[in-house]
Symmetry: C2
Subunit: 250 residues, 2 copies
DNA sequence: ATAGCATTGTGACATTCTTCACAACTCCTG
DNA sequence: CAGGAGTTGTGAAGAATGTCACAATGCTAT
């Protein structure tokens, strides 16, 4: 609620009744899941599912991927729990918000579960992102290789400093901020990254929202004010450090 | 619990009885606070205080600093709450875990409250940090200017790649990993940053712990296994993005 | 002084999140 | 094809966190 903007979307609080997946699926058949996830109950579902749960899903996906790398095809909630350091009950409960994906006595099919969670998180596509603020931090983010492998791709770089404009970073030119809103609209961008100085973060967020962005990854140490339909997550190493020193002994 | 290692320190669960600050303090006298915070109840207190609360404190400090910049000397929980986008009751409750810092009818003295929270978080000193893994990410972190202003300073850079060793980044030489443990011991380092590739993160964490580090800022996308007296916080932009796309409409 | 406004600190309550524990089911083995 | 071992999914209980609402108190103005 503090470091994340809970995005308490104001839509009618209709309880979802149709499970996303059913019991009679063939665990490794992606088409089946496809159909299940696209049906009409899906859109309403995220009202009911706690954000804590949603935040854990990427960790599950990541862990399942590491199992796939090791060619392990099946996993129990118990084993997954040990790997992630949570309780098995929590994993089962988390998954149960979305349907039934496991087999009693057997566990979960790694590939099927991983695909399913990715579909829930809408990671079954590539999301273009605009990056605002091309100082040192912006450069580092633009050069970061970890996004492509994860359904994300930076497609535009923006900076308000006209003298930075034109420079090419990781094959993309830096463009002026005044082009930001139109670019977002034209390219249907839904995700923005803020790496501007603190004082410019809010105005940047406003422009992102104006363009139609619905998710903002904020590296600036400020709490952003955005409409309820926009989600914000903070990346704040300093706060993280400052909260850890509390626990240091002596 | 997932992205943070709750650091459920196993010490006797003694309830703290002595408030850290009292009512008869002079709000702007730092010496008073000093004495209060150093007394014997302090060490036991963190058992009882929820980690969620501790994580919010850096935001309070940051916000109070921004008020100080504007020369505002007094603030109510209501006003602070608006700035941070939490409820006023939550701020009052959070602070009440540590004592009574406000004045009825008046609010809080900005400087006093800020100093006090910093003291609680042990930010009234500079923490040396070792940075492990000097790839692109490591370089970016080493060059980051935001730490000094926040009680932190990177004092050692380490990489396992011998060909990187010797290079000077932001006035510090990169040193070989084999010197890590001894350096931590000799320099009494308590905080480590992991910016290694995923596969090396756990072994790096083990070395940090062996040297005596009690707080780890982990940029690698892995859940680290550490003893209970060590706190870990994850910096994971990919997971943050992956959990936000869930909420995107359409 | 005293009244009255503003604001804290906190019991009591409400809500959210986690864990327990077990019926239901699946699979394997003989 | 029955029995046992293993594991899920989930009601119900429990723990943790957040909010309400108000008595207590300090401050200001007259």
């Amino acid at each position: 609620m503090l470091d994340c903007n809970e995005s308490d979307i104001s839509m009618p609080a209709i309880a979802r009744t149709t499970p996303i997946a059913r019991d009679d699926r063939e665990p490794t058949n992606p088409y089946r899941v496809d159909m299940d996830l696209d049906d009409e109950a899906d859109e309403l579902s995220h009202l009911n599912i706690p954000d804590v749960v949603i935040r854990r899903l990427p960790i599950y996906v990541r862990t399942l991927h590491s199992l796939l790398e090791k060619e392990q095809t099946s996993v129990s909630s118990e084993e997954l729990a040990r790997m992630i350091d949570v309780t098995a009950a929590q994993i089962r409960r988390d998954l149960s918000y979305f349907g039934k994906f496991g087999k009693q006595g057997k566990g979960y099919d790694v590939g099927y579960l991983s695909d399913t969670i990715e579909r829930i998180l809408k990671l079954d596509r590539t999301w273009g992102m605009v990056l605002c603020g091309m100082g040192k931090l912006g450069h580092a983010i633009a050069n970061y290789r970890g996004f492509q492998r994860s359904s994300f791709e930076i497609t535009g770089l923006f900076d308000s400093d006209e003298s930075a404009v034109g420079e090419v970073v990781n094959e993309l030119p830096i463009r002026p901020m005044r082009e930001l809103v139109d670019t977002i609209r034209e390219e249907h961008i839904r995700v923005g990254i803020i790496a501007t100085p603190r004082v410019n973060a809010q105005e940047t967020a406003d422009m992102l929202v104006e363009g139609g962005v619905e998710a903002i990854l904020n590296y600036a140490p400020v709490i952003l004010r955005v409409p309820a339909h926009v989600t914000v997550r903070e990346i704040d190493p300093v706060s993280a450090l400052q909260s850890m020193t509390y626990y240091i002994s002596e």
